[in-house]
C-alpha cells in the first residue's frame, strides 16, 4: 500500500494534529505522522534531502491532507561541514576562503562580513579605492545571487527557460570575477585591509558593458514573467506572513522589505562607501511571492546603479591599507627591502596577530543580514568565528508561510525564501 490514504480529505481536521507531529525526534515524528495519517487521512511526505526543488539538501517533513500542507518541519544539517570549527585552526587570512564557502552564492558578502569584523578588531581603516572596489564586487555579487534565485525560482514554478536566461547573465558576472580575481566562484578577492589586487585594465569597460546589458535584460525578464497570467496567479497572495511576525522571526533582507519594512543595512548602518552612493530601497506592500519577486528584481536594478556610480567615482590610490603588520608588502619591495622580506615571511608563516577582543560585523547580503562574530584571543588564529547566516534564520519562517497552502505553494514559497543550504548548515 503506497500511502496512508490522502486522496480524499475529511471535512475538518482536529487542531491537535499539528501538535502531535512536532516535538520529538524526526524519526519518531515520521512514525507519529504516519500513525496520524492512518487515522486522520494525513499523509506524511519526506521532501528531501534529495528532491529536485529543495535547493540543495534540505529535508522537509510535510504533513499533507490531500494537497494541502497541514504541518511542515525543516530538518537541516545535511550540508554541515564544520566550517566554523575549522576556522579556529587557521590563521586570520586563511579563514577567508573558509567563510566564502558557507553561503556559496554570496561569497563576497561573507568575505566582507568576516574581513569587516577583523578590521574592526584591528581598527584598520580601508583606503577609499578599496572600499569602492569592494562595493563594486559586492553589488555584482548581489546581482549574481539574485539571478540564480530568479532562474531557480522560475524553474520551480515550471518556467524552464528563465533558468537559462538568468544563467547567461550570471556567467558574464563570473567572467568579470575571473577577470578581477582569477577565480569565477570563491574568489578570495577581499583581504583584511582592502582587496587582493587592483582591477585589471579593461575591467571598468567590461563592467560598464555588463551594466548596460543588464538593464535591458531586466526588462526582458519582466516582460517574460510580469505579464504572465500563470506566474501572477502562482505568486500573488501566496505565502504572506505579517511584517510583525517576520520581525519576530528575525527575518531580514528582501523578504522583510517585500512585507513593507524598508530595512536595509546598506542604508541604515552604512559601511564601506555606501553612504556616498545614491540608491533606492525597493519595498513591497503585502509580502506575497510576487512582492518578493518584484523587490529582488528592482534590487538588481539598483545594484546596477550603484555599480555605475562606483565606477564613476572610483578614486585613485592604494587598493589596500598601508599597514605592513597586516598586509603583505608589494612584490617588488621584497627584493630590495630586508624589512619587507621579514614582514612577508611573518605574514605568510604565522599570519598577523589580532589584539584580544570580540566584534560583530553585519552586512546586507543578498539574502539579509549576514553578520560575522569574531573572537580574538591575541594569537594569530581566531578563537571563534560565527556567521549569522540569513538563510538559517529565514528557514524558521517557512512553516508559517506554507501551512494551510497547497503543496505547489510550498515549492514556490521555498523558492521565494531563497535559502542557500551551504549557509544554513555551514
Amino acid at each position: 500500500m503506497p500511502t496512508g490514504g490522502g486522496g480524499d480529505t475529511p471535512a475538518d481536521l482536529p487542531a491537535e494534529t499539528a501538535a502531535t507531529v512536532v516535538g520529538s525526534s524526526p524519526i519518531e515524528r515520521t512514525e507519529a505522522g504516519a500513525a496520524a495519517g492512518a487515522e486522520q487521512e494525513l499523509m506524511t511526505v519526506n521532501m528531501g534531502p534529495h528532491h529536485p526543488a529543495t535547493h540543495g539538501v534540505l529535508r522537509l517533513l510535510v504533513s499533507l491532507q490531500g494537497e494541502v500542507v497541514i504541518d511542515l518541519k525543516p530538518i537541516i544539517g545535511y550540508l554541515h561541514t564544520g566550517i566554523e570549527k575549522s576556522c579556529e585552526d587557521q590563521s586570520y587570512w586563511k579563514v577567508i576562503p573558509f567563510v566564502e564557502r558557507m553561503d556559496y552564492l554570496s561569497y563576497f558578502s561573507n568575505m566582507q562580513a568576516y574581513c569587516g569584523a577583523v578590521e574592526t578588531l584591528l581598527e584598520l581603516e580601508l583606503p577609499p579605492r578599496a572600499q569602492y572596489l569592494r562595493v563594486i564586487h559586492l553589488e555584482l555579487n548581489r546581482i549574481h545571487s539574485h539571478l540564480v534565485w530568479l532562474g531557480t525560482s522560475a524553474l520551480d514554478l515550471g518556467a524552464i527557460s528563465m533558468f537559462w536566461y538568468c544563467f547567461r547573465e550570471r556567467d558574464k558576472i563570473l567572467d568579470l570575477f575571473e577577470m578581477s580575481s582569477g577565480q569565477r566562484m570563491h574568489t578570495r578577492y577581499f583581504q583584511v585591509g582592502g582587496v587582493f589586487e587592483d582591477i585589471p585594465a579593461g575591467f571598468e569597460r567590461k563592467v560598464r558593458e555588463f551594466c548596460a546589458d543588464m538593464v535591458v535584460r531586466l526588462e526582458q525578464y519582466r516582460a517574460l514573467l510580469d505579464r504572465n497570467e500563470i506566474f501572477l496567479r502562482r505568486t500573488k497572495g501566496v505565502g504572506i506572513v505579517s511584517r510583525e511576525r517576520l520581525l519576530e522571526l528575525g527575518v531580514t533582507g528582501p523578504l522583510l522589505r517585500a512585507a513593507g519594512e524598508p530595512w536595509d543595512l546598506r542604508r541604515a548602518q552604512p559601511d564601506l562607501c555606501y553612504a556616498d552612493l545614491d540608491f533606492k530601497i525597493p519595498v513591497g506592500t503585502v509580502g506575497d511571492g510576487y512582492d518578493r519577486y518584484r523587490v529582488r528584481l528592482q534590487e538588481m536594478r539598483e545594484s546596477v546603479r550603484i555599480i555605475e556610480q562606483c565606477l564613476d567615482g572610483l578614486p585613485e590610490g592604494p587598493f589596500v591599507a598601508d599597514d605592513r603588520k597586516v598586509v603583505l608588502p608589494p612584490r617588488d619591495e621584497l627584493s630590495i627591502s630586508m624589512e619587507a622580506l621579514i614582514h612577508h615571511f611573518k605574514l605568510v608563516t604565522e599570519g598577523f596577530r589580532v589584539p584580544p577582543g570580540e566584534a560583530y560585523y553585519p552586512v546586507e547580503s543578498p539574502r539579509g543580514e549576514l553578520g560575522a562574530f569574531v573572537l580574538a584571543d591575541g594569537s594569530a588564529k581566531p578563537a571563534r568565528v560565527h556567521i549569522r547566516d540569513p538563510s538559517f534564520v529565514h528557514m524558521q519562517a517557512l512553516r508559517e508561510m506554507c501551512v494551510g497552502g497547497y503543496i505547489a505553494d510550498l515549492i514556490s514559497n521555498l523558492a521565494m525564501l531563497d535559502p542557500i543550504l551551504g549557509g544554513v548548515d555551514r
Binding site: M1, T3, G7, V45, G158, W164, Y165, I230, R234, I407
Partner: protein, 333 residues
C-alpha cells in the same frame, strides 16, 4: 459473428489492411524519436543553448543513444510496489497511444486504398474511448509504484484527465455538427470550402488547451510536476518502462495534434497533387507539435486548484456556449 464493429464505408483486402497498418505504425514510430530530438533541439534554441549535438550529425542520433541507454537499464521493482500492476501501467499507456493512431486520416481513398488505419463511423468516440484508457495506465502505475509522490501524481492525473476530457469533447462537437458526421474522413472532406479553424476558432482553442492537459504537457504537467512531485507517477520507473511513458507522451502529443488537424486545420488538404496529402497532414501535425514545445519553453506551471477551476469554470462553460451557438447557426443556415 458477422456483426461489424463499425461501419467502414468500403471493404479492402486484408493484406492491404495489414500493410497499411504496418506503414502507418512505422512512420509514426519513426517520427516519435525524431520528435524527442527536435524537442530538445528546439528547447535548447529557445533557451539560448545548442541542445544535443554530439551523437551523430547535428545530434540526430541522440534518440538512438537514448533508447540504447534506457534499454540497457536494470528493471527495478520498488519493494513497496505491486509487481503485476506496476508492469501493466506503462503498457496500458502506450497501448492507448497506439490504438488512437488508427483513426488519423492521412488522405482519402486512392486506388481503392484508404490512407488511414480505419475510418470508423463513430470516429471521435473511438478516439475518446481509447484515449481515456491512458488514464488507467497512469493511475495504476502511480498507485502500484508504492511511492507517495507517484500516488499524488496519479491522483492529479486522474482528476485532470477527467476534467479536461469533457471540455475536449464539447470543443469537437461544434465541428461535428457543422460536418454532420462523426467520421474523421467525412469531417476533413467537409472542410473543402473553409477550414473549421475559422468558424470554430473557439472550439479549436479550447481543444488545444484541453489537449495540453490531456497530454500532461506544460503548463499542465502537474502529474509529473518535477518541482513538487519529483516525477509524479513515473518517479519509481526506470529503463524501458520509463521509456514507454516517454514514448506514450509523444504519441499522445502526435494524436492530439492529428485530431486537431483533422477537425480544424483541414486534415490532409493542401495544394499539390494527391500523393502529397500524407505529407501535408504530417506537416500540419508537426506545426502543432511545435506549438506544444514552444509553450513548454515559455509558460510556468499552473497550480492544482487553478487547473481545476480553469477546466470547470472557464473551458467547460465556454465550450458549451460554443456548441449552443454552433447548433443555432447550423439550424438557421
Amino acid at each position: 459473428m458477422s456483426l461489424p464493429l463499425a461501419e467502414v464505408g468500403f471493404a479492402e483486402a486484408t493484406w492491404i489492411m495489414v500493410v497499411k497498418s504496418i506503414v502507418i505504425f512505422l512512420v509514426v514510430f519513426m517520427i516519435v524519436p525524431v520528435l524527442t530530438v527536435v524537442e530538445r533541439k528546439l528547447i535548447g534554441r529557445f533557451q539560448n543553448r545548442y541542445g544535443p549535438n554530439r551523437v551523430g550529425p547535428v545530434g540526430l542520433m541522440q534518440p538512438v543513444a537514448d533508447i540504447l541507454k534506457l534499454a540497457g537499464k536494470q528493471v527495478l521493482h520498488p519493494s513497496a510496489s505491486v509487481p503485476l500492476l506496476y508492469a501493466i501501467g506503462p503498457a496500458l499507456v502506450i497501448f492507448s497511444g497506439i490504438t488512437t493512431i488508427a483513426i488519423l486520416p492521412f488522405g482519402n481513398v486512392k486506388d481503392g486504398v484508404g490512407f488511414y488505419g480505419i475510418d470508423v463511423s463513430i470516429g471521435v468516440l473511438y478516439f475518446f474511448a481509447f484515449g481515456s484508457l491512458a488514464f488507467y495506465g497512469l493511475l495504476l502505475s502511480g498507485w502500484a509504484s508504492g511511492s507517495k509522490y507517484s500516488f499524488l501524481g496519479a491522483m492529479r492525473s486522474a482528476a485532470q484527465l477527467i476534467s479536461y476530457e469533457i471540455s475536449m469533447g464539447l470543443a469537437l462537437l461544434g465541428a461535428i455538427m457543422m460536418a454532420g458526421s462523426l467520421s474523421l474522413v467525412s469531417i476533413v472532406e467537409a472542410q473543402g470550402t473553409i477550414w473549421y479553424v475559422i468558424p470554430q476558432i473557439v472550439g479549436f482553442l479550447i481543444f488545444m488547451v484541453a489537449g495540453f492537459a490531456e497530454t500532461n504537457r506544460a503548463p499542465f504537467d502537474l502529474p509529473e510536476a518535477d518541482a513538487e512531485l519529483v516525477q509524479g507517477f513515473q518517479t519509481e520507473y526506470g529503463g524501458t518502462r520509463f521509456g514507454s511513458f516517454l514514448l506514450a507522451e509523444y504519441l499522445e502529443m502526435f494524436v492530439v495534434s492529428g485530431i486537431a488537424t483533422a477537425f480544424f486545420l483541414g486534415g490532409w488538404m493542401g495544394p499539390g497533387p494527391g500523393w502529397l496529402d500524407p505529407i501535408w497532414m504530417i506537416v500540419k501535425i508537426l506545426a502543432l507539435i511545435f506549438v506544444f514545445i514552444w509553450v513548454r519553453a515559455t509558460l510556468p506551471r499552473l497550480r492544482y486548484d487553478q487547473l481545476m477551476s480553469l477546466g470547470w469554470k472557464m473551458l467547460l462553460p465556454l465550450a458549451t456556449l460554443n456548441v449552443l451557438v454552433t447548433a443555432v447557426l447550423v439550424v438557421v443556415t
